[in-house]
């Protein structure tokens, strides 16, 4: 006997406790099973690309802070790389190392948020989240020491970073690195092979590699599907060619793999930070550039980095003026959302939240 059921359409978001900001999905449920998915975006659209056309090259750095507000350092870095490519300049080595170091610290912070909220969405009442935030606060403290702000850092500038680290930064960083080892271990003990977490996430919403490539997915989501693609390795920028690190790869591309890849990337980032601290040498951190930069008319540059969410690219076009003629932002979160339908269809309401969390989107970046 089949039971006749009536599909029920539910608006999940934009004010849902766990849609990562103001993301909205219109979902049709059959009981608890998802039969239709339609993502609705744009609630945080601020027109960053248009704003960038009216600001000079340095001022745009402050806009990039606000794209993915959980990884501002990496956004700054990506934009500055694009501008440097546009101007044909290269920052001094210490600047490169500082950028690499801060980017990896930011990657740790961002992945900690991703993992914390992922487990929060699985229903753990705040505990893993508080543990991850405990470590993240330390990183943000380091950022405050470095550049006076915790989230909207504006640390990188075209031609380097705005200032060298203060002398008390290095002992604080060492202290953090040694403390974080234990905190990370605690987190792994709590989460990495917890049976409930495994049961909830293994085999759920798998993303096959061919779909991942076809949907232009990038970052940890792509690597969780088993594809060895990391811009830090493929086209090393800044000081990434000077440091050794591994790329964790998943097997099935399910929720657990995406979570696992992030946990492992935190370890690898820690490794990179340690190497940066060991290798960095005194010297200038920023090129002497005029305050108002000008690029050659018609110059174009596509600068990209491996941000915490995926490939973050800035496509800059210059018309010879003081501000970019066009500043296209290739945001990983938006393009990773292409797989929403693939991930959710056929799974249950409870898995929907977790799968969305495992993609780790950030609405500041999706809507821009």
């Amino acid at each position: 006997m089949t039971i006749r059921t009536e599909p029920m359409t539910v608006n999940v978001g934009p004010q849902h406790p766990s849609t990562h900001g103001v993301f909205r999905v219109r979902i049709t449920f059959d009981g608890e099973d998802i039969v239709e998915v339609e993502p609705v975006l744009g609630y945080l659209h601020r027109g960053s690309e248009k704003l960038a056309e009216e600001r000079n090259y340095v001022q745009v750095v402050t806009l990039t802070d606000r794209l993915d507000y959980t990884s501002s350092m990496i956004n700054n870095q990506a934009y500055c790389l694009a501008v440097e490519q546009l101007l044909g300049i290269e920052p001094p080595p210490r600047g490169k190392y500082l950028r690499t170091l801060t980017a990896e610290l930011q990657r740790i912070a961002s992945h900690l948020i991703a993992v914390g909220f992922f487990v929060q969405e699985l229903g753990a009442f705040g505990t893993p989240l508080m543990y991850t935030f405990r470590s993240r606060e330390r990183i943000l403290d380091l950022f405050e020491m470095l550049c006076g702000a915790r989230i909207t850092v504006s640390y990188s500038r075209p031609g380097g970073v705005f200032a060298d680290a203060p002398p008390d930064f290095w002992p604080a960083l060492d202290q953090f690195l040694s403390d974080f080892e234990g905190e990370l271990e605690e987190l792994e003990n709590l989460l990495l092979s917890n049976e409930i977490l495994m049961v909830r996430t293994r085999g759920v919403s798998p993303l096959p590699p061919d779909v991942a490539i076809n949907c232009s997915v990038s970052g940890p989501v792509l690597r969780a599907s088993g594809i060895n693609w990391d811009w830090r390795k493929v086209a090393p920028y800044d000081a990434y060619d000077q440091v050794a690190f591994d790329i964790p790869l998943g097997e099935n591309g399910d929720n657990y793999d995406r979570f696992w890849v992030r946990m492992q990337e935190v370890r690898q980032s820690l490794r990179i930070v340690r190497q940066c601290v060991a290798q960095i040498e005194p010297g200038p951190v920023r090129l002497e550039l005029p305050m108002v930069l000008r690029a050659a008319p018609g110059a174009e540059a596509y600068g990209r980095v491996e941000a915490s969410k995926g490939e973050l690219g800035f496509f800059l076009v210059s018309d010879g003026g003081v501000s970019p003629y066009r500043c296209k932002i290739r945001s990983p979160s938006l393009i990773n959302l292409t797989i929403t339908e693939h991930l959710l269809l056929g799974w249950k309401l409870a898995d929907m939240i977790v799968s969305l969390g495992s993609v780790d989107i950030n609405m500041g970046e999706v809507d821009r």
């Binding site: 027109g47 779909v211 490539i213 232009s216 594809i227 496509f315 290739r330 393009i335 292409t338 809507d367």
Partner: protein, 147 residues
Amino acid sequence: MTLNVVSGETLAQRLREVVPNSVVEWNDAAVWVEPNSLGSVASALHDDDEIDFKYLNAISAIDFVEHFELVYHLTSIAKRQTGVVRSRVYGREEPAAASVVGVWKGADFQEREIWDLMGVRFTGHPNMKRIMLWEGFDGHPLRKDFL
């Protein structure tokens, strides 16, 4: 492990064999193609064994006032090479280009965004609606003449 850049010339030669009358011009960095042949160009590049552009990085649209320019950054993950395909779309009232969603699903949101903000319509896109702004919004904000 290095990243090769496929020059526009190579792309142009390949495209002229597979998709006739599609190539407009080329230089070292990129190849320019006809906007309404973008779909077949995309599948040609996607299926070609040598070029193997299975991964679409980004579609950018630039408003050069006299024309719109679409820039496709493409990557082959297996061959570790990148390339750029560009296309000029003329007209300001209802400029249109062929959609590449059938080839790269990742173009879905990006083409919708370009339609929304730049006003270039992609023919063949299954869901050509505004994405960031609401339906009924007047104008396309990223155009240079939008104030």
